[in-house]
Symmetry: C2
Subunit: 195 residues, 2 copies
């Protein structure tokens, strides 16, 4: 094995450190600051390990874990696109980012990572649907526990939360049920701005 | 399945969000701020996915990934202990933290997480030794790419780096070889404070 292969791997590892500086709209549960996409990915991997029993279908949990760990790496180039903003150009931006970033790896690993990311994006497998459900579920928890801070800042209504995140049900009926309970409680507690 | 089980799982998930506010001595590769233990754990999981071919022994990679994802959760209660500081009381602090934190989970998952963490701590398996090697390897990269910032701040000598991290060799001779190259380069480039 050549040092060249290890050097390529380390170049990728250094490059993705930038994901720790990509900030999302969601706040930490204690409200002290916005969350970045690297720590969010860590949190999602823990959700995958803990909540897989609530998936609609049997799963390869290790694959879901890997999928959520890499799903946001494209944001190093493409930035975070807020789910309630215009998604125009997002797919193309992220595709170019995937080309460049995964392309830093040795060719076999570049292919492996790209295949996993494409699967996540396509949502065609049970693992991809569950990974996406977790990704859409966790911000609802963060919002609820920060008195709806991010919802209020962006004028998001409960109707938009539910319509924009209904795909949670495709991955986990249980987590979708729980999402609806959270949103009901948030409405009752006045956590949404009156429109 | 009762909602009670899901509620226990979510309580743990909310509690470990605090790991995003536990800061290490190491800086991000771009030097803008210190790194927290949640994003560090994400980075390590990627290292596990990418570098497992350099381990001394064949590995269950998925297990290494899970191990590094949970290895620092105890820091939510116990805080981060700098590798070059007095380690007195660390083991006991972290054991109590593991009792409380993993104890938030349903009993079967509490046991599973605790067993995995105990294995990491004990260093008795190939997976634990490789996970620990990654955990000791990555700060050398961060230090090298930030002009030795954390080494300088704490007056760490190259000799201490090498003696305190020699266990990298138990997990990966290749990464230990690379660590020595990095330290040699760092010395040549004046990245350590003159003692």
């Amino acid at each position: 094995m050549s040092m060249d292969r290890l050097e390529r791997q380390l170049r990728f590892i250094l490059e993705i450190d930038k994901l720790k500086s990509v900030y999302r709209r969601t706040y930490l549960v204690d409200g002290t600051r916005r969350e970045n996409s690297a720590e969010h990915s860590w949190h999602l991997a823990l959700l995958a390990m803990i909540l897989s029993e609530h998936a609609n279908q049997p799963l390869d949990v290790a694959k879901v874990v890997k999928m959520v760990l890499i799903h946001d790496i494209v944001e190093v180039d493409a930035g975070d696109t807020y789910i309630y903003d215009d998604q125009g150009g997002k797919a193309e931006r992220e595709r170019l980012a995937a080309d460049r970033l995964f392309g830093l790896l040795p060719i076999d690993q570049a292919r492996e990572f790209r295949t996993l990311w494409d699967e996540f994006e396509s949502g065609t497998t049970a693992e991809a649907r569950f990974a996406s459900a977790l990704d859409r579920f966790i911000p609802q928890l963060h919002n609820y526990h920060t008195q709806g801070r991010s919802w209020k800042e962006h004028g998001i209504t409960p109707e938009r939360v539910l319509s924009r995140n209904v795909e949670i049900a495709d991955g986990s009926a249980k987590l979708w049920e729980w999402t609806q309970i959270i949103i009901e409680r948030a409405v009752a507690e006045g956590l949404f701005t009156k429109s």
